[in-house]
Symmetry: C2
Subunit: 426 residues, 2 copies
């Protein structure tokens, strides 16, 4: 039965069946949670050997005693390993503390208030500073900019990345647009991978932008594949070097969803000129990152083969969970009520429901004991103008819990959609 | 022989003896370092059990899985332990990452640009923002303010703390003075402890200050005593509660010189209203501090008895080093060339040489293979107007190395002083 092709009588019949189904869910006193893109305890346990792995040897390969002060840029062995991870040279990366979000905040803060190697700070260029925000996107990215007084300009997110026609037109017209937020592989929340063409156009973008333009390339899910044949991401830094725009790229990564989510290491990859400027500023607020934890990570992960082997173990835990969601969502096939992504990696499935229903569906699910990410969270200031995007994060619950939670979600989508259609017809 | 009472002939004789002594030091090809207030490898090894102490148990006492995301304010067991450490209640402290300097930077940044619970941000109050800097003081404190665009106003540091007559007069006269930097126990670099009367006057200070005044109370050496009977520090927070100024105090501490210098945990103690405001801002730049390391610290230190026992082991390593410096410095007794502090705790000995000679002496020592902290480092922007303060940090070298380094230093002080006196007489 397709929503728009049903008669009012059919819809009424459907509504009463769905209402009974929903009431049954409510009566079951569920307590399920699909809100946060965080690893499960099983995933975290894959890295338990981190604690104690140093075995009393606190010296890095160059003799650096990681227990003491110093080495703001991170230890050499970690810079070499994570340079390979980020596909850059060791002098093109610094390794920091447990949060790549902090690195994004700091780079944006310094660009906003302190200055950049090639020009004065954004805030001193006369006029409100703006940033492009592909939507739906990651709420915490948007929060960084907003907290620093930067205005977010939403641009559409397509299946192959941000809408580059729109991006280029905006950037060419307004030199106060100083950057763009990107999660290029398994984007949060849609799970898409930027196409080669989008990456190439992004690498050229600084050529038409104002002074001090920066692409914030948060490659948070670079190795977080669910399928061996998931699409690869083009190398933006190599392209940018070719186009003379390498200084306009900040690339971020971390081991947060590789080892311990709250106690990994994060890194910033960029040209040596950008890193030198960053260290100059960040050195006023800290002596060094936690180098002991950096050395733990080097000893535990060993090399990129170690990283990939660990990510396969994660995939083995995550894939059945994603499959469970998609299996349940297939109950919405051909009803004209929703569309969703089938990501090949990352942590999220993004569902678009009928306009005006996202908030209501999230509330209905909550009332039946299924917590979902607040509707609108994927838009700047939490405001989805069409009120239609919902993010599902299935990493933490067990497969049976996910089946149940998604079943409830599907009931909510159907019931809300049928009621909306009935209201329209009356 | 006293410098000013010596005849020119005596001075010339002295100069040639000292020049020979200095040349002998130079010929010895020394490579000694008294620059940084950092622990020695022996001290760091006292805490090697930190790595591996969790033994696979990553749950805090309330069941919090410390490996995962969340708990921006720090884990409950760490808040309880470090609340005792800072003599506050558990809801008056948050536990953070490995750097208290970062907490100082963040609190100052938010006060400068974002706002405070009771008023708008300092930078929005119309007029250049100023901070009082007791001198000599800690260069990294001064750096935080300067990087944030805050002007430093030097005030004199006496044997009992900052010159409070001067402090009160300045604060009462200028509402744009928004705070004061304090290292109240074993001050960096003079090693003095603020007297009860100074602490009480500081606790009252906000009553005569402008809006949003904050005392930055960096109690970095609270437990870092060299002598069991070292003077205690009055409880500024208790006094401030009495005077109604508790919201004007930010207190900082860390385990940097207790466990691993570069990989400890830091904390901010303040009123719940201040902490709430802080978390609101800092939450835009991070999900959580490294809670695994917090739990390691709780399991390792156990309680305040554990902290004190560990600090006694540190003192056993530090005390002979300080004694070695003081023993050598006694060679300058009654010469009219220098005065110095005899600290009962902390990491530094502060030497005042004759005006105009500090830079020269530091250079002479360097030329003889003894690295000292750059002269002026203890003043805002590295500018000691009298060019006379030199900071000695004897924690890292061995006792024989310290004896040798201080011997060289003493020769440099004498030679520079005699030459200056000779130049005056000619």
């Amino acid at each position: 039965m397709q929503l728009h092709q049903s008669s009012v009588a059919e819809l009424q019949q459907w509504e009463s069946e769905l209402a009974r189904e929903y009431a049954a869910h409510q009566a079951a006193n569920l307590n399920l949670d699909l809100t946060r893109g965080k690893p499960s305890a099983e995933q975290l346990s894959l890295s338990d050997a981190l604690d104690g792995i140093l075995g009393g040897n606190f010296k890095d390969e160059d003799g650096n005693d990681v227990r003491n002060y110093g080495t703001l840029e991170g230890i050499v062995s970690a810079r070499r390993l994570f340079a390979q991870f980020m596909q850059v040279q060791p002098d093109e990366i610094i390794v920091a503390g447990n949060s790549s979000l902090t690195l994004m905040y700091q780079t944006q803060e310094f660009a906003m208030y302190q200055g950049l190697p090639e020009c004065e700070a954004w805030s001193k260029q006369g006029g409100p500073v703006k940033f492009l925000a592909p939507v739906p996107g990651y709420d915490r990215h948007f929060g960084v900019s907003q907290h620093l007084g930067i205005e977010l300009v939403p641009v559409a997110m397509n299946d192959n990345g941000p809408d580059m026609d729109q991006v280029e037109a905006l950037v060419a017209a307004d030199p106060m647009i100083k950057g763009i937020w990107c999660v290029p592989r398994f984007s949060n929340p849609t799970g898409i991978v930027y196409s080669d063409s989008v990456v190439e156009r992004l690498a050229r973008l600084p050529k038409i932008a104002g002074k001090g333009f920066r692409i914030f390339w948060d490659n948070a899910y670079a190795y977080h594949i669910l399928d061996e044949d998931a699409p690869e991401l083009a190398d933006i830094f190599a392209l940018a070097k070719q186009f003379g725009t390498a200084d306009n790229i900040y690339m971020f990564g971390s081991t947060s969803k590789i080892t311990f989510a709250g106690a990994g290491v994060a890194f910033l990859a960029a040209t040596p000129a950008n890193l030198k400027e960053f260290l100059k500023h960040v050195g006023w607020s800290q002596i060094n990152p936690d180098k002991v934890n950096q050395l733990r990570h080097v000893r535990f992960l060993k090399n990129m083969d170690g990283v990939r082997a660990l990510m396969k173990q994660h995939a083995a835990l995550l894939k059945p969970r994603f499959d469970a969601v998609l299996q349940q969502l297939s109950g919405l096939n051909n009803l004209g009520m929703a569309s969703w992504t089938e990501p090949r990696g990352g942590y999220f499935i993004s569902v678009d429901v009928l306009p005006g229903l996202a908030k209501q569906i999230v509330k209905m699910a909550a009332d039946a004991g299924v917590k979902l990410t607040p509707a609108g969270a994927t838009w700047p200031a939490g405001n989805d103008p069409q009120d239609r995007n919902i993010r599902l994060a299935p990493s933490v619950p067990t497969v049976p819990e996910i089946v149940k939670a998604t079943e409830v979600f599907v009931t909510c989508v159907k019931l809300a959609s049928v009621r909306q259609e009935l209201a329209k017809r009356s």
